[in-house]
C-alpha cells in the first residue's frame, strides 16, 4: 500500500493526536497550519508523482476493521455521554454488525484498502489547497471570535481538532476502495462535523440533531447492507460490484446515492442548511466545501459505473434531483443578503452540478471533476475574503462593501476578479458541455432547472460586483486592523486561484492521457466534446489566458482609477443619495408563491419516487 496515501489519510489524525498534547494557543495554531500545508504538499506530490512502490508497507485488514470498530464504539460512548440515545442505539447496531460480520466472518477486504484514482487526486489537491490557504484565516478569525465570546479554550481546540479530522476523513473518502472504508471515513466526517458544531453552542439546534441522527441511520443501513452485498459478490470491494448481481444493483446504486446525499447534507431546504449557516462564516465554509461539495462528488465518482449501466428512469430521477439541488442552492443564494450565505448557496449549486453530471459519461466526469475543483477553489477564495472582511470590519453584509475599494483596494480587486473568473463558467462553457452530456440533454426538466440555476447564480454575482465596483465616499476602518498574515496569504491564494482556473484545460488534457482506470465507459461524441471552445474550461490555455489576463488588467485599471480619483469630485450637492439597500432578487414574486415550500415538496416527492423505483427493482 502506498505510503504517501497512508500519509495523506492518517497524517492529520496523527497530528490531531499530537495537537491534543501541545498547549492551546499560538503554538497549536501554527502546528495545525503546518499540518495543513503538509497535507497540501503531499497531495500535490501524489498528483504529480507516478504512484511509487518504493516504500510500501502492508497494513493487515484486521487493523482497518479494528479502527472501524473503534470509531463506532467511540461514537457509541460519546453519544451515551451526550444523552443522544437514538444515536447510541444506531452506533450500537453498527458496532455489533462490525464485530459479527467484519471480524468474525472476516471477509476479503479491498486491496489496497485506500488508493487514489485520477479523479480522486484532483479533488484531493483542490481540497487540500482549500485547507492550506483557508485554515490559517479561519484560525485567526476564530481566535478573535472566541475571545469576544469569552469562550473556554476547549471549544477552540474542538474546532481545530474537527478541522484536522475533516481533512483526514475527506482524504479517506477520496481514497477508499471498499464499503467498509466508506463507512469508516463517513463516520470520521460525522465526528469532525459534530466536534465543530458542538464548539458553537448556538448551532446545537433541533434540526441539527435530527440531521445527525439521519446521517447515523443512513450509515447504519449502509453497514447492515454490506453482508448482503458480500453474499452476492463475495467481496466488499467497490469495483467488483458489477460482477454478479443483476437488478438489485439499482438498490445498491440508490443506496450509495442516498448515503452520499444524506451524509453530505445535500438537501435543498433552508431549514436543514441553516444549522450549518449559523456557525461563523469560515467554519461553515469549510464544512460545506469538504462535506457537501468535494466528498460527495469524490464518492459518487466511484459509483459512476454503477449508474451508467442503469435503466434511464432511475438515472433521470437522480439527475433531476441533482439539478434540483443546483436550483435550490441558486435560489437560496438569491434570497440571502449575507455574503457567507450567498456563497453557501453558490457552493450548493456547484455540488448539485457535480451530482447532476457525475454519472453520465466519462468526458462529462472529467469536466465535472475539474469544474467542482476549480469552482470550489474560487469560492473558497471568496470565503477567505469575506472572513477577513468580517474580521476587520465586523460585517460581511454585501451592502456594506461600497467603499471596499478605498478601505482594502487589493481585496476588492481580488474579489471582483475571482467573481468574473467564476462568472464565465456558467455563461459560456457550462451550457455547451451540458448539452453534450447525453442524459442531461435528454432531460428537459433538469435542463430547465440547471439553466435557471446558472442564471440566478450569475445574477447574484452581478449584484455583488455592481456593489464592489461602485465608489463610496468615506472610509470607516483603520488600516492597522489588517493582520500581516492576511497580507501574505491573500495574494498567494489569489495567484493560486487564477492558476487553477487557467490550468483546468491542462488538467482535462492530463485526464485524457491517463489510461482509463475502473470499468471503462463509452465516451459519446468525445471528439466534438473535446473540441468545444470556452473562455476558461478549454483544452488549450490560450484563449483562457488572454481572457483572464485581460479581465485582471481591466479590473486593475478600474481600481486604480477608483483609488486615484475615487472621492466625490466636481460637485457634492447630492443630497438625494440617502441610505439605499439593494432589492432582493425575488421581490417580484407574489406573496402567495413560496419557492422554498415548492422546493421542499419537490425534493421530498422526488426522494420518495426514487426510493419507490429502487425498491420496485427488487424482485
Amino acid at each position: 500500500m502506498d505510503f504517501v496515501v497512508l500519509g495523506v489519510v492518517f497524517g492529520p489524525v496523527v497530528l490531531l493526536l499530537i495537537s491534543f498534547l501541545i498547549p492551546q494557543g499560538k503554538a497549536s495554531r501554527i502546528f495545525i497550519e503546518i499540518s495543513a500545508v503538509l497535507f497540501f504538499v503531499t497531495a500535490v506530490y501524489l498528483f504529480v508523482a507516478p504512484s511509487s512502490n518504493m516504500f510500501n508497507l502492508y497494513i493487515p485488514h484486521i487493523v482497518w476493521k479494528l479502527i472501524t470498530l473503534l470509531t463506532a464504539v467511540f461514537i457509541l460512548v460519546r453519544s451515551i455521554l451526550d444523552k443522544h440515545y437514538i444515536i447510541s442505539v444506531l452506533a450500537f447496531t453498527q458496532s455489533i454488525i462490525l464485530a459479527v460480520f467484519e471480524i468474525l466472518n472476516a471477509p476479503e477486504e479491498a486491496v489496497p484498502f485506500v488508493s487514489f484514482n485520477y479523479d480522486g487526486k484532483v479533488l484531493l489537491v483542490a481540497g487540500s489547497c482549500i485547507t492550506a490557504f483557508f485554515v490559517p484565516v479561519t484560525l485567526i478569525y476564530l481566535k478573535k471570535y472566541f475571545s469576544q465570546k469569552k469562550a473556554v479554550k476547549k471549544q477552540e481546540k474542538q474546532v481545530e481538532a474537527g478541522i484536522l479530522l475533516l481533512m483526514a476523513a475527506f482524504a479517506g473518502l477520496a481514497a477508499a476502495n471498499s464499503f467498509t472504508g466508506l463507512f469508516l471515513f463517513w463516520q470520521w466526517m460525522y465526528i469532525a462535523v459534530r466536534l465543530i458544531l458542538r464548539a458553537f453552542q448556538s448551532s446545537e439546534r433541533k434540526t441539527a440533531a435530527v440531521v445527525l441522527v439521519v446521517q447515523q441511520a443512513a450509515l447504519t443501513v449502509w453497514m447492515a447492507s454490506i453482508p448482503f452485498i458480500y453474499q452476492k459478490t463475495g467481496s466488499v470491494y467497490i469495483n467488483s460490484l458489477d460482477a454478479g448481481f443483476g437488478e438489485s444493483r439499482v438498490v445498491v446504486a440508490v443506496m450509495a446515492f442516498a448515503l452520499t446525499i444524506v451524509s453530505g447534507c445535500l438537501i435543498p431546504d433552508k431549514n436543514i442548511w441553516q444549522d450549518y449557516f449559523s456557525v461563523p462564516a469560515p467554519v461553515s465554509g469549510i464544512i460545506t466545501l469538504i462535506m457537501s461539495v468535494l466528498s460527495p462528488v469524490a464518492v459518487l465518482l466511484k459509483f459512476g459505473f454503477l449508474f451508467t449501466g442503469l435503466n434511464n428512469i432511475i438515472l433521470t430521477l437522480v439527475i433531476i434531483f441533482g439539478s434540483l439541488i443546483m436550483a435550490g442552492g441558486a435560489y437560496y443564494s438569491c434570497v440571502s443578503r449575507k455574503a457567507a450565505q450567498i456563497l453557501q448557496g453558490i457552493l450548493m449549486s456547484a455540488a448539485g452540478w457535480g451530482i447532476t453530471t457525475v454519472f453520465v459519461s466519462r468526458e462529462s466526469m472529467f469536466f465535472t471533476v475539474g469544474y467542482t475543483a476549480v469552482s470550489s477553489i474560487t469560492i473558497t477564495f471568496l470565503f477567505a475574503c469575506i472572513t477577513i472582511l468580517e474580521y476587520i470590519k465586523g460585517t460581511q453584509d454585501v451592502e456594506q462593501m461600497y467603499n471596499l475599494h478605498k478601505e482594502m483596494p487589493e481585496m476588492a480587486f481580488f474579489m471582483s476578479a475571482a467573481m468574473l473568473l467564476f462568472l464565465f463558467a456558467p455563461f459560456y462553457s457550462a451550457l455547451q458541455r451540458l448539452l453534450y452530456v447525453r442524459f442531461l440533454a435528454e432531460n428537459p426538466v433538469s435542463m430547465l432547472l440547471t439553466v435557471t440555476a446558472l442564471v440566478l447564480v450569475s445574477a447574484v454575482i452581478f449584484r455583488w460586483l455592481s456593489v464592489l465596483l461602485s465608489a463610496g465616499d468615506k472610509t470607516s476602518i483603520e488600516r492597522d486592523a489588517y493582520p500581516d498574515v492576511f497580507r501574505v496569504i491573500l495574494p498567494l491564494f489569489f495567484v493560486f486561484t487564477v492558476a487553477a482556473n487557467l490550468s483546468f484545460g491542462s488538467i482535462y488534457r492530463y485526464f485524457r492521457q491517463q489510461p482509463i482506470p475502473m470499468g471503462s465507459l463509452a465516451a459519446e461524441n468525445i471528439e466534438t466534446y473535446s473540441e468545444l471552445e470556452g473562455f476558461l474550461y478549454m483544452l488549450k490555455p490560450g484563449k483562457g489566458l488572454i481572457y483572464a489576463v485581460g479581465v485582471i488588467v481591466v479590473l486593475a485599471a478600474c481600481f486604480y482609477i477608483l483609488q486615484r480619483f475615487g472621492k466625490a469630485d466636481k460637485y457634492t450637492g447630492n443630497t438625494d443619495s440617502r441610505v439605499f439597500y439593494h432589492y432582493s432578487l425575488t421581490a417580484w414574486i407574489p406573496a402567495w408563491v413560496n419557492p422554498g415550500l415548492i422546493l421542499r415538496a419537490a425534493w421530498i416527492s422526488l426522494a420518495a419516487i426514487i426510493a419507490g423505483v429502487a425498491l420496485s427493482c427488487l424482485k
Binding site: 443630497t575 438625494d576 440617502r578 441610505v579 439605499f580 439597500y581 432589492y583 432582493s584 421581490a587
Partner: protein
C-alpha cells in the same frame, strides 16, 4: 399650557364634533406676545368659533385628536407663529434593510414642488412623509394692508386651479361686508368664469393622471385640449387664464354673448374628445385595473376628508351650496362615487368636467341682459367669511376690512384638509403607483401654502 386648559379645550371641541360640527379653518393672530388660536367650526352654514389665547412658545394640544383634518392647518400656524402643537412627529425611522429616498421636490410627475421622504423596501413603501413649503409666498401677509381693489388681481394668480374661485370668494366677501349687490349679469358671468377655471384645473389633473399611467398618447391629447381651453378663455376675456376680469362690484368689462357662444363651441369640442378618452380608459382592462387597485381610503377616514376625496367615498359634499353665485337657479346634482380609490377619483374628474360643461352651457343660455358692474363704495369695516366652489372642492376666504384696506386675509382650499391623509394612503403601495395616487389627490399646493 396646563393639563386642565388643554383638557377643557379638547372636550369643548369634541362636544362640538358630537353635535355634528366640522372644523372649517384654524387661524392664529399675535398681539403683545400673546398668541390667539381660533378654531372655526361649521355645521350647515352656521359657524361656531372657539378661541384660545396662550403666551409664546407654549405647547398647544393638537386638534387632530378630534378633527384629523386640522393637521395641515396646525403646521401652517407653527410655521408662522411661535407656538407648537403636541402632535406625533413624522420623523423617518432609519431601519435595517429599508431604503430611505427622496421624491421631489421637482419631478416630472409632480405639477407643483413638494418633497416626499419615502421609507421603502423592494419598492414597497413602508412610510411616507410630505415636506411642503416650496411654493410658500406668504400671500396673506402681502395682502394685509393693501387696498381692496388690488386683492382680486393677486388672488387669481395664487394658483392655477383655484385662483379664480379665490378672488371670486374674496370679492363676494367684500361685497357682503359692504352690502353691495352686484348686477345679475355679472353674477352669471362670474359663475361661468368660475366653472371654466374648474374645467382648466380638472383638465390639468387628467393630464397628470395620464402621465402617471404612462399613457403618452393620451397625455398629449389632453394637453391639446388644454390648448383649446386657453383659446376659449381668450375668446371670453382675452387672457388664457381668465386673469384680470374680476373686480369688486362685478366684472370689469362687458362680454358680448357671441364670444360666449364661440367659447362654448370650443368647450363642446373638448367635451367630445374627453368622452372618447374616458371610454378608452374605462374599457382598457389594464388601465381600469391599475386605477382600481391603487389609492384606496377607508370610509371613516374619507368621511373627515373634504372635496373630491370625500365625494369619491360616497360622502355627498356639495361645495356649491354656500356659493354666492347663481348655482341655486340651476339644478345640478352632486357627483358621488362609492369605490374611494384612484379609479373613482379619476372618473369623478370626468363627471365634474361634464357637469361644468353643462352648467356653463345653461349659464350662457339663461344669462340676463344688463349692466355688468356697479359703482362699489367700500366704506364699512368688518369681517366676513365667503365660501366658493373650487375645482376640486371648496375655497374659503375670511376677510377683515378696515374701511377699504384689508386688515387681515385668510384663505384655504381643500388641499389643506386632504393632504393630511396622503401619507396614510401611501403606506404599503408600490413606488410606481405612488405618483398616480398623488395625482388622484389633485393637490393644489400653491393654493394651500399661499
Amino acid at each position: 399650557m396646563s393639563e386642565k386648559r388643554s383638557a377643557s379645550l379638547l372636550s369643548k371641541l369634541s362636544g362640538f364634533k358630537s353635535m355634528g360640527f366640522e372644523l372649517l379653518l384654524m387661524e392664529a393672530s399675535e398681539a403683545d406676545n400673546k398668541i390667539t388660536v381660533n378654531y372655526l367650526l361649521e355645521k350647515e352654514g352656521q359657524f361656531e368659533s372657539v378661541d384660545i389665547t396662550v403666551s409664546e412658545n407654549t405647547v398647544v394640544p393638537s386638534v387632530t385628536l378630534v378633527f384629523p383634518r386640522g393637521d395641515r392647518m396646525e403646521k401652517d400656524i407653527e410655521q408662522r407663529f411661535p407656538v407648537s402643537f403636541k402632535r406625533k412627529s413624522d420623523e423617518m425611522p432609519h431601519e435595517e434593510g429599508y431604503s430611505l429616498i427622496d421624491w421631489g421636490p421637482f419631478h416630472p410627475l409632480l405639477p407643483e414642488p413638494v418633497l416626499f421622504h419615502i421609507l421603502m423596501k423592494d419598492e414597497v413603501i413602508k412610510k411616507a412623509s410630505v415636506e411642503t413649503g416650496y411654493n410658500c409666498r406668504e400671500v396673506e401677509k402681502l395682502c394685509a394692508g393693501r387696498k381692496v381693489w388690488d386683492i382680486p388681481g393677486i388672488l387669481e394668480k395664487v394658483s392655477d386651479a383655484n385662483g379664480i374661485s379665490l378672488s371670486l370668494a374674496f370679492a363676494s366677501a367684500v361685497e357682503e361686508i359692504n352690502a353691495i349687490d352686484i348686477p345679475q349679469k355679472a353674477r352669471w358671468i362670474r359663475m361661468i368664469i368660475n366653472e371654466m377655471s374648474c374645467v382648466n384645473a380638472n383638465l390639468q389633473g387628467l393630464y397628470n393622471t395620464a402621465q402617471c399611467l404612462g399613457l403618452y398618447g393620451d397625455s398629449v391629447r389632453i394637453s391639446k385640449l388644454v390648448g383649446l381651453y386657453r383659446e376659449a378663455a381668450e375668446l371670453i376675456c382675452g387672457h388664457p387664464l381668465l386673469f384680470g376680469i374680476i373686480e369688486i362690484g362685478g366684472i370689469n368689462k362687458d362680454i358680448a354673448k357671441d364670444s360666449f357662444y364661440a367659447a362654448n363651441a370650443v368647450l363642446q369640442e373638448i367635451e367630445n374628445e374627453l368622452t372618447d378618452i374616458r371610454k378608452k380608459w374605462e374599457s382598457t382592462a389594464a388601465i381600469a385595473k391599475r386605477l382600481r387597485t391603487t389609492g384606496f381610503i377607508d370610509s371613516e377616514t374619507a368621511m373627515t376628508a373634504s372635496g373630491r376625496l370625500a365625494r369619491a367615498a360616497g360622502n355627498a359634499v356639495d361645495s356649491r351650496k354656500y356659493s354666492k353665485l347663481p348655482y341655486t337657479d340651476l339644478s345640478y346634482t352632486v357627483q358621488v362615487r362609492e369605490e374611494s380609490n384612484c379609479y373613482a377619483r379619476t372618473m369623478l374628474k370626468f363627471d365634474d368636467l361634464s357637469q361644468s360643461f353643462r352648467l356653463i352651457d345653461r349659464g350662457i343660455e339663461s344669462m340676463p341682459k344688463g349692466e355688468v358692474k356697479q359703482e362699489a363704495k367700500v366704506k364699512k369695516s368688518g369681517e366676513a367669511i365667503a365660501r366658493e366652489h373650487g375645482a376640486d372642492g371648496e375655497v374659503i376666504v375670511r376677510v377683515r376690512l378696515k374701511r377699504d384696506t384689508v386688515e387681515s386675509l385668510f384663505f384655504r382650499n381643500d388641499t389643506s384638509v386632504n393632504i393630511s391623509f396622503l401619507p396614510g394612503c401611501l403606506e404599503g403601495t408600490e413606488l410606481t403607483d405612488f405618483p398616480l395616487i398623488v395625482s388622484g389627490f389633485d393637490l393644489d399646493l400653491s393654493g394651500m401654502e399661499k
